[in-house]
Each structure stands twice: as C-alpha cells, then as structure tokens.
Subunit: 249 residues, 2 copies
C-alpha cells in the first residue's frame, strides 16, 4: 500500500469552526503535508464562505464537504478520533498522547478511513461530539498554557502523522465496523434498553434536563469502546434485533 493511498483515507473534520482564518490555516497545513480531504460540520456560514474565497485558498477548500452533524461527517469512517487540550485523563474516554495516537491512526489508514476531529476555537469538542469518538488524542502542551491555536494544532497533528511514514507498520487484516454501523448499533441498543426498562426515559428532548450525561451519549461511548470488527457489529445487530422483537412481542 502506498503512502498516497493511506493519506487519501484521512478525513480532517472541523466542527463548529468560527474563524475563516482558522479554516484556511487548517487547509494550508493539510496541503503542506498531503492530506487533501477536509470536512466541515456546521461552520459559521460566513466564515466558510470567506475561507473559500480567500486569496491562495487551496483547491482543497473548494472540494471540502459540508455536513449538518458529526454523525453524518464520520459515517464512512471506521475510526473516529477527537482532539483535546484536556490535561486530566478524560473520565469518559481513553486519551492517547499524539505519538502513540499517530501510530494507531497510521495503522488503521492502511485498511480504512479515519476521521480526525477538531472542535471550535472557544470550546473545543462538545460532549455530544466526543461521544462519536473511539478515543481522544492529546498534544502534550504545558499545563499552564494547554490550549493551542486551531490551525497550529492541525499542523502539528498532520506533521506527526506524516512524520514516520517510512517506518509505517503492516496493514491490519482486521476490518473495522464503520461509524454508520456503530450508530445503528447504538440506536438499536437504546431501543432494547428502553423496551426492557433498563432506561426509563423515552428518547425525547426531556432526557436533556438530566444533569448526568444523557443515556444516548453514554451508550454511544460504550459502543465505541468495544472496538468492534465489521463482522461482530453485524452479529450484534442481529442479536439486538431479535431481542428487541422478543421484548416487544
């Protein structure tokens, strides 16, 4: 597998980006390091238009995909990685340092698509955004000044990804479940948990008044932690459908 093919499989996903300069800077770093597929989720409309029309904007920006939700933007990816400036270990997610993260991502790119998510300038990725991620990547910045500029964070991540390609490991034989499959599984599981009485609340807006993480996010994260193969995801889908049918009959 050539490096080109592997770089082709990365999707850089900018979520709720507000500043056109940052979208432009992210695109420039992508072009510098050879990752050409940008996706934007719910960008500030004007920012995206400005970035696209900026002088010297990469053709990459013109081709960028625009999505309404994280779920849609990552649906065809088998690994979804969020970036974070958090110092403490996130209690809900496994956090990898960038060097280790890059190794795992490179390995996965040998066989499937990977989405790398960057949150908004002010608040980073929301808990809902994070619930779509298999795990998080952290750049080891100083404790007293953790938060990086968005364009610089993208540059450092892509640099690290491109860095050691010569020593890239063998491709995995394991075919991983796509984000779309995992989202179907999450949804069936929530149905089964509600039908069984394990979850009391209906899947309505009312759930959002709870102070703890909403059950949807909790189950979404649980499903991502399982690291399912495409085959096992299919197996689980079948199991849950049968259980659900029985619970309802």
């Amino acid at each position: 597998m050539s490096k080109q093919n592997e770089f082709e499989r990365l999707r850089v996903v900018l979520v709720n980006t507000r500043n056109p300069l940052n979208i432009g800077a992210a695109a420039r770093a992508m072009s510098n390091f050879g990752f050409l597929h940008l996706r934007v989720v719910n960008p500030f409309e004007l920012a995206f238009r400005e970035a696209r029309s900026a002088v010297g904007a990469a053709p990459l920006l013109a081709r960028a995909g625009e999505f309404k939700s994280v779920a849609e933007a990552v649906a065809d990816c088998s690994l979804v990685v969020g970036t974070t400036a958090l110092s403490r270990r996130n209690p809900r997610h496994h956090v990898r340092r960038i060097e280790e993260a890059a190794r795992v991502i490179r390995k996965r790119l040998a066989s499937g698509r990977v989405a790398l998510l960057f949150g908004s300038e002010k608040r980073g990725l929301s808990n809902e955004d994070l619930s779509h991620c298999h795990w998080l990547l952290r750049i080891p910045t100083r404790e007293v000044h953790r938060s990086m500029n968005l364009g610089q964070a993208v540059a450092v991540c892509l640099y690290e990804l491109a860095r050691d390609w010569k020593s890239a490991p063998q491709p995995e034989k394991y075919l991983h479940a796509s984000a779309a499959d995992l989202e179907r599984l999450t949804s069936l599981m929530l149905d089964a948990l509600r039908a069984s009485g394990y979850l009391k609340t209906p899947p309505s807006a009312g759930a959002k008044v709870q102070s703890a993480a909403p059950p949807d996010e909790k189950i979404r994260r649980l499903v991502r932690r399982l690291n399912l193969s495409a085959k096992d995801a299919e197996l689980f889908l079948g199991i849950l459908r049968q259980i659900l049918w029985k619970l309802r009959s």
Copy 2:
C-alpha cells in the same frame, strides 16, 4: 540538566515579520510548548505593536527582545539554525531534516544557547540572514506546496523539539475485566440469546454434536474480543440481567 534549563536556552528569532497575527501565533506556540524567549529582528513596527497589545497575548511577547539586525539577535548563541521551505539542497548550506535537526539542537541546548530563525512571510530568510546560520532545518512538506504558514512552522518545529524530551509514554490506567467477569457475561448473554430465540438449542450436551463451533464458544470468543474494562463489563452485566428479566417475565 533539567528540561527547564534546556528550554530556557532556546531563542526563537522572527526576522522581518510583517503580520501581527503571525507574531502572536508564534508566541502562542512558544508558550504552549514551553519555550519562552522570543526575539524579533526589524519587525514591521506596527505589526509588533499590534501583536503586543492583542487580547490574550502571552507575557512572553511583552518581554520579547527587539533587534536591528540578525547579528545582534544571535550574538550570544553558540548555534544558529535557519528554517527553510527549500526543496533542493541549498548549495551554500547543509540542510537537515527537522527530526535530525531537533536531535542536534537538543544536544546543544544542554550546554549553550541556540537561535532558531524564521524569515518573513513572503520571502523567508534572505541570503544575508542565512549567512548567519550554521546550517538549515527543513520541514518535509509536499513538493507541490512547500511553504508553510509562519505560525504553523514555528508550532511544528517547537513540537518536534519538545517531542522526545520525556520519551516514555504514560502507563495505562485502564483496568481490564477479569476472566471471571467475562465468563459471567458470556453465560448471561447465552441465556439472553436463548430466551429471545436467537439461539435455538438448549445449553445441553446435545449442542456438541453440531459440526460448526458451538454457540457457547462463539459467544465466548466474541465477548473476549471486546477487550472490556472492568467497569464496562459490570455495565453490560446489569444491562443483560435486566433484558433477561424482561424476556422471561
């Protein structure tokens, strides 16, 4: 020698920078990675004033040294390294790839000051500027799009310098589920699959006459593949108990 002392000895030198946003971005990356000594040579006066007064500007900017010439800015350094986007080997200078360059710079920082020079946004470092350098550092960008944004180039260089300082990654805190938990989970799952009709055969010796792998083994392997933490195993046990109770009621 502590990392602090070594980081203290680096001087990031911006030569003829024009855009205040780039000075600010360079300062931010320096603060992120813990290199706190900035020097500017002949900046566009207004740009430097704007950068200094920007919201959230690092104290680092307030303390930045201002110089009239490269010679003055690097006078107290024992190694002067220029950065370049040039693809071809510069005939006048030895060019090192960033990884090797970082190793040499780190070594030197153990005993003396090192200056790392970045040129203007448009033209990079002039031949005159370069003549003050011992050698050049190159970030391996794509041939078709070599030139990096100044703030991003600074971020990548400082990241690479800080990168291996503590080479050992953090140990995992992840507590894995015990085999006993996994076996309980397997057993509950088989019960649920039978109660739901997903599996037809009872858990009797009769199952063993089948030629394919017995369902017990199939499900046991499936559960092991999940690589569950102790906490998630507990969560799944609770879910399965509830589903089973509902299926049987």
